[in-house]
């Protein structure tokens, strides 16, 4: 915030887990400030006592029978994985920080 303007784009990008280069950051800063200034016109409305609308059609949760169903075979699901271990599991990079594991 501070000198950069009201929105800390670096912080927000961190929350969204998106890497942003310095050049895009500057552009995003400008765009977001402009858009947020625009959406703040909603402040002029009195919304006291108005119920929020989350969905256009009010629906309540429904439960289905807890019945066993066919699922996708493992090889079909793993066909889209970027990396696998013996085509049985999805291979991921190290999860916990620290020394590399073997």
């Amino acid at each position: 915030m501070g000198d950069q303007g009201r929105i800390d784009v670096g912080y927000v990008a961190g929350l969204a887990r998106i890497e942003i280069d310095p050049e895009s950051k500057e552009r995003l800063q400008h765009d977001m400030e402009e858009i947020v200034a625009y959406i703040e016109q909603l402040e002029e409305l009195d919304v006291e006592g108005i119920e929020p609308t989350a969905h256009a059609v009010p629906l309540t949760n429904v439960w289905r029978e807890d019945a066993a169903q066919e699922s996708f075979p493992r090889d079909v699901m793993l066909a889209n994985a970027p990396a696998t271990v013996d085509e049985k599991e999805i291979k991921v990079p190290q999860v916990l920080p620290g020394e590399g594991m073997s």
Binding site: I18, L28, Q41, T53, A56
Partner: protein, 493 residues
């Protein structure tokens, strides 16, 4: 065999020809694939087309028909599919680098229902990345051009779906509409685009952008074809708990044989705020006025109505849609599917994969959504926007007490040129006439009404009906279409 005019051939006409034995599915599909071959290097509506697969499906349809076992009246007719709606064993990139490598292991419910009637899913249609945009310029792969003028955009986000129908590359296609993404490109390309009531059509297999707003719908040459598609794809689906239990059929029957019908006793509401909106151009105004004259001439009564919260719709939309998008798109992390950028650890892999995989507009909206939902801002932005959403919904409910249907512009201007709108906020503001009904849940349809004299580009009008009143919406739109001055809209291309 009679000459096929693919630029205006409808599904119902093609189906009648198939039934009468005047044409085969093989000949029909061959003609469309030849047309794609001929014009798509200019239009660039398709990301992919698998000719062999389509011709094999056409042969199978002809065999069924020869044996008297056709799956429906429409067996063997091609349908184009937007790249965010999955088809089994085909790519589904959402025009994003992040999903470029993905091949879908299953059919979306809409594709499944099309196949059950014998329709042939044809190709993957270009779009704005993850359906975010109004010009198709946000595709990571190619710019789709407007068939009416190749220097103009086709609109978005379903730009490929509109352009391919206008160019006669397929008779119908599916798009998805979160804030106007079916109706706006339909207006830009001179085709019909229907956004059904939220919940009419299952979203299973539609890559989610903003779940409370997204709805799949048809793009077609006429209103009857839109009704045929809604009959085919609509209705309750166990795989989408927000799909509505009400029956969703009989629309095609309801709009057939309306030639010679008038609109006596029908009250058409003109929301005054829509005609006072900033940036509304003369050619669009003229198009709507022409539609008003047509409707009056067949007996409709015009009444002025008010939707007082219209000017807040864009702001509400860009809070709610981006907030939902930031949550929906968090699943794209390069771990289970999609393009992964390898890094030292898991978190760095997320950052790099999402940084490299998403384009500028998608990043902008994810960040905006993340910001409005972030700690301390929820009440000020998201909750307030949901409350104003209630006010917008009430506006439509009040207007519905005074008239049967609303008539409005679809867009402030006809199709603009590539690069003309580079400022994101200016682009967002051009959605002013289409986004309110995604927020309210109404159904709406864009129908070609005029051709702008100066630019030669088509102009559409939008009819809006209350939720679940598609039958009325389609009937009135159909009667309008049958009575308008220009009978057929086809580009020279």
């Amino acid at each position: 065999m009679m000459e096929l005019n693919l630029k205006t051939l409808t599904v119902h006409a093609a189906a009648d020809m198939l039934a009468a034995g005047e044409i085969t599915s093989v000949k029909l599909c061959r003609a469309y694939l030849d047309r794609i071959e001929q014009v798509d290097s200019k239009v660039q509506a398709f990301l992919k087309v698998d000719n062999e697969k389509i011709m094999a499906a056409a042969e199978a349809a002809d065999k069924r028909r020869a044996a008297g076992k056709e799956l429906s009246h429409y067996d063997g007719i091609p349908v184009g599919i937007k790249d965010c709606i999955v088809t089994k064993d085909e790519t589904c990139s959402c025009a994003s680098k992040l999903l470029e490598p993905v091949v879908s292991p299953y059919d979306s419910t809409v594709v499944d229902r099309f196949k059950a009637k014998g329709f042939i899913p044809t190709g993957r249609l270009n779009m704005d990345e993850f359906a975010m945009g109004s010009s198709c310029e946000n595709s990571a792969f190619q710019n789709t051009a407007n068939p009416w003028n190749l220097e103009c955009v086709p609109g978005g986000s379903s730009g490929g779906s509109a352009a391919c129908v206008a160019a006669g590359e397929v008779p119908i296609s599916l798009g998805s509409d979160t804030g106007g993404s079916i109706r706006q490109p339909a207006a830009f390309c001179g085709v019909v685009g229907l956004k059904p009531t939220y919940g009419r059509v299952s979203r299973y297999g539609l890559v989610a952008f903003a779940s409370s707003l997204d709805q799949i719908g048809p793009m077609s040459h006429d209103v009857l074809d839109a009704a045929i598609v809604l009959d085919t794809i609509g209705g309750k689906d166990e795989k989408d708990s927000t799909s509505l239990p009400m029956p969703c059929s009989g629309f095609a029957e309801a709009v057939k044989g309306l030639e010679g019908h008038d609109l006596k006793g029908v009250k058409v509401g003109l929301p005054k705020e829509y005609f006072e909106a900033e940036g509304l151009t003369g050619s669009v105004k003229a198009g709507v006025e022409k539609a008003v004259e047509t409707l009056k001439a067949i007996g409709a009564e015009m009444v002025e109505v008010s939707l007082p919260h219209t000017k807040y719709a864009v702001a509400v939309y860009y809070i709610i849609a981006t907030a939902e998008a930031s949550a929906n798109l968090s699943r794209f992390d390069g771990i289970r599917y999609g393009a992964r950028q390898e890094a030292d650890d898991l978190i760095a892999t997320y950052f790099k994969s999402r940084g490299a995989g998403f384009g500028d507009e998608v990043k902008r909206r994810i960040l905006l959504g993340t910001y409005v939902l972030s700690s301390g801002y929820y009440d000020a932005y998201y909750l307030r926007a949901q409350k104003v959403r209630t006010l917008i919904r009430r506006d439509f409910e009040k207007a519905a007490e005074q008239c049967d249907i609303l008539l409005t512009p679809v867009t402030p201007s006809p199709a603009f040129k590539f690069g003309e709108k580079s400022d994101p906020l200016q682009m967002y503001l051009s959605d002013i006439f289409t986004i309110a009904l995604n927020l309210s849940g109404n159904c709406g349809i864009s129908v070609p009404a005029d051709v702008c004299k100066e630019s030669g580009m088509p102009v559409g009008v939008q009819f809006i009906a209350p939720a679940l009143e598609e039958e009325k919406l389609l009937r009135i739109a159909r009667i309008f279409e049958l009575n308008r001055e220009i009978k057929e809209f086809a580009p020279e291309l």
